[in-house]
């Protein structure tokens, strides 16, 4: 791996430059990003579709309702639940994309098998941090409750709890967004023993160090969230327009609820993963002088290689 030869120019950037660059990165690696995104998204998409399907029967739900909720109310509940689930599951689903991007920066071409191997080797850490602490798998458990009792009278309470969970995770991810990168690219262990090498950083310490000097990350996350919401709305409107032109269907219907809306959400999740990766590079450059480290390490490697060559020649 040639450390000072990268496919993305390593430089400090502002937030608008990072957002623009994310489009270039997405365009450059489109086939591979789509491949890994589909592999990551497909299970979550299917699980959410199956588990949330019972609460899309708005007529039956409103008739069974004890507090005269309307169809629109139940539709809003379904859409919001879908948004919450995708938000919570996105880092877990995008692990493949994150790892691929990390390798692509250094002009590596990982195969599906290699990426899968890395994900399996880091499965425990990913499950613990992204699945349990950050709610990726807990979201599925929540959807299971909805699936088991879709006509429960506690639907409002369920939605409130889910929303609170999302707000909590938003705060955590706002201040410490780079957990997938630390776990997958830096491969920090969850815990380090006292006997371990003093230079080996545990996930907790590494997270604290990396995020300590980057106080504006939360505001950046808010900006990205606002932009994502705007793009979801625009994309849904665009799909409605196309459906109107092609099929004559101009209203938000069943297909929109079950297929297109979740697809747009996952599209945004994929794009957010690219932005988060570029933000991670930017944070490392700003707080740790990462580009300096790459250059110095590359020089060190060259020196050692030259020394070995000289030894070989002289002997």
């Amino acid at each position: 791996m040639q450390l000072d030869t990268t496919s993305v120019v390593i430089a400090q950037r502002s937030i608008d430059e990072i957002l623009d660059l994310s489009l270039v990165v997405a365009r450059t690696y489109l086939p591979k990003i789509v491949l890994f995104a589909i592999l990551g998204i497909a299970p979550f998409f299917a699980i959410n579709l199956v588990l949330l399907y019972p609460i899309t029967d708005y007529d039956r739900l409103s008739m069974a309702s004890t507090y005269h909720a309307t169809n629109g109310g139940y539709q809003a509940r379904y859409l919001w639940t879908q948004v919450c689930l995708v938000y919570l599951q996105a880092p877990l689903a995008m692990c493949g994309v994150t790892y691929f991007l990390g390798q692509a920066v250094f002009i590596e071409q990982p195969t599906i098998r290699q990426v899968f191997g890395v994900l399996v080797s880091r499965a425990t850490a990913l499950t613990w941090v992204l699945g349990l602490l950050r709610g990726g798998l807990l979201a599925i458990a929540f959807a299971c409750i909805i699936f088991v009792s879709p006509y429960s009278n506690t639907d409002v309470e369920q939605t409130v709890y889910l929303t609170l969970c999302v707000i909590l995770v938003f705060m955590v991810r706002g201040f410490r967004p780079f957990a997938p990168e630390i776990l997958l690219l830096e491969r920090c262990p969850l815990f380090t023993s006292k006997k371990a090498n003093a230079n080996e950083l545990s996930y907790g310490r590494r997270t604290s160090w990396l995020h300590a000097g980057s106080g504006d990350l939360f505001s950046v996350q808010i900006v990205i969230t606002i932009i994502s919401v705007a793009f979801v709305l625009l994309a849904c409107l665009g799909i409605l327009y196309v459906c109107g032109v092609v099929f004559g269907i101009r209203n938000w219907g069943f297909w929109m609820d079950l297929i297109f809306f979740p697809l747009v959400l996952w599209l945004m999740a994929t794009w957010s993963a690219i932005i988060r990766f570029l933000l991670y590079l930017n944070t490392r450059i700003r707080t740790e002088g990462w580009e300096v480290e790459l250059k110095l390490k590359a020089e060190q490697q060259r020196m050692l290689a030259n020394a070995r060559l000289m030894e070989g020649t002289s002997s």
Partner: protein
């Protein structure tokens, strides 16, 4: 339905059977990039070569740099429109057209004003203000031709007239509000522009493609970074480095980058980073191993960028290029043009200079 399920299952079986040979490298990139060339590394720049074979590098403004400019221009247009409306309503202009009712006169003037402002605001400003509007000026971006020349009035007209197409598709209020809302297609989604900018290498929307223009960042280019070598031992350590030791060009770049960035790092990180290169170098050059690696890299920088040019050129300074932001050529640092600034702990004045590669390359 059964055949559909069968075909899906067959596709899944094929995927499983062929999972092993699929290599990501075999999938072609949508944009061919020669990764081994740093010039082609992914960035937000466009290089333009003039007929005289002179190359210019521009920073391209993407959609997220352009959105604030668009919003400012929108506010300016609305404010201008409202201003004209109140001016017309409060002035006695309606008396000039006795054959029209007061309402009709105001309506005609308002419609004309709206038309003029909406369609010709961008054309006027971009033509007479070197590709800038008020929003672009505030956002520090400007429109230029794809060949680097200033935008012409024809190009300004084309790109602004196609703005409506870029804002498409227009959604009806029906889809947004309620089924009984009037079916007026007045809500711009801007999806055409978004998709178009995302798939073109210069972030061009339809109007830009038609007019042969692009939007670039209008900022003063590279300002040489100031490097502070605050430790007085640097020069004496530089003398200990053997005279026959020559750094390779990549190593010079690495050392210059380190010297430029070190002041913004905590001391522990400085030591950690500098040791990467300094440790093997010190061992190779026979420098004592307890020497501070940070100090050693500073000494290398001093030797390469401060001491050497003086020894080579004595008193005459050499021009090594004219950064765009400066009117006068940058010269090698000499005793006279070093800019000593007092530091908190220095016994001798801190050395502050700008790194210039000996070959005249931009670091």
């Amino acid at each position: 339905m059964t055949s559909f399920v069968k075909s899906v299952l067959a596709a899944c079986a094929w995927l499983v059977a062929h999972a092993r040979p699929i290599q990501l490298g075999s999938i072609r990139n949508s944009v061919p990039i020669d990764f081994m060339s740093l010039r082609n590394a992914i960035d937000l720049t466009a290089t333009i070569t003039t007929p005289e074979n002179i190359q210019f590098e521009y920073r391209i403004a993407g959609p997220f740099r352009r959105i604030p400019a668009f919003l400012v221009d929108l506010i300016v247009r609305i404010a201008t429109f409202l201003g004209v409306f109140f001016l017309v309503a409060c002035s006695g202009i309606v008396q000039l057209f006795p054959f029209l009712s007061q309402f009709a006169t105001i309506g005609v003037v308002v419609l004309l004003t709206y038309f003029m402002i909406d369609w010709f605001y961008g054309v006027f400003f971009e033509t007479y203000w070197n590709g800038r509007t008020i929003g672009k000026w505030i956002s520090k971006i400007q429109v230029i031709s794809v060949d680097g020349r200033p935008i012409s009035s024809y190009q300004a007209t084309i790109r602004n007239f196609l703005r409506l197409a870029d804002l498409a598709p227009m959604m009806s209020l029906e889809a947004l509000l309620a089924n009984d809302a009037p079916p007026l297609f007045v809500v711009p989604t801007g999806l055409v522009a978004t998709v178009c900018m995302s798939i073109t290498s210069r972030f061009q929307r339809l109007g830009d493609l038609a007019a042969g223009t692009m939007v670039v960042v209008d900022e003063r280019a590279w300002v040489p970074p100031k490097v502070k070598l605050e430790d007085p031992r640097v020069s004496s350590l530089a003398d200990l480095i053997p005279a026959n030791f020559m750094m390779s060009r990549p190593m010079v770049r690495a050392v210059a980058l380190y010297a430029e960035r070190r002041m913004r790092m905590p001391v522990a990180r400085r030591m950690e980073l500098s040791a990467i290169l300094a440790a093997p170098l010190m061992a190779q050059l026979g420098i004592r191993s307890d020497t501070s690696p940070d100090l050693f890299l500073c000494a290398l920088y001093y030797r390469e960028f401060v001491a050497r040019p003086i020894s080579i050129v004595e008193s005459d300074a050499i021009d090594v290029g004219i950064p765009i932001s400066q009117k006068t050529p940058v010269k090698y640092a000499t005793e006279s043009n070093l800019d000593p600034q007092p530091t908190t702990s220095s016994a001798s004045p801190a050395i502050e200079t700008s790194p210039q590669l000996p070959s005249g390359e931009t670091p």
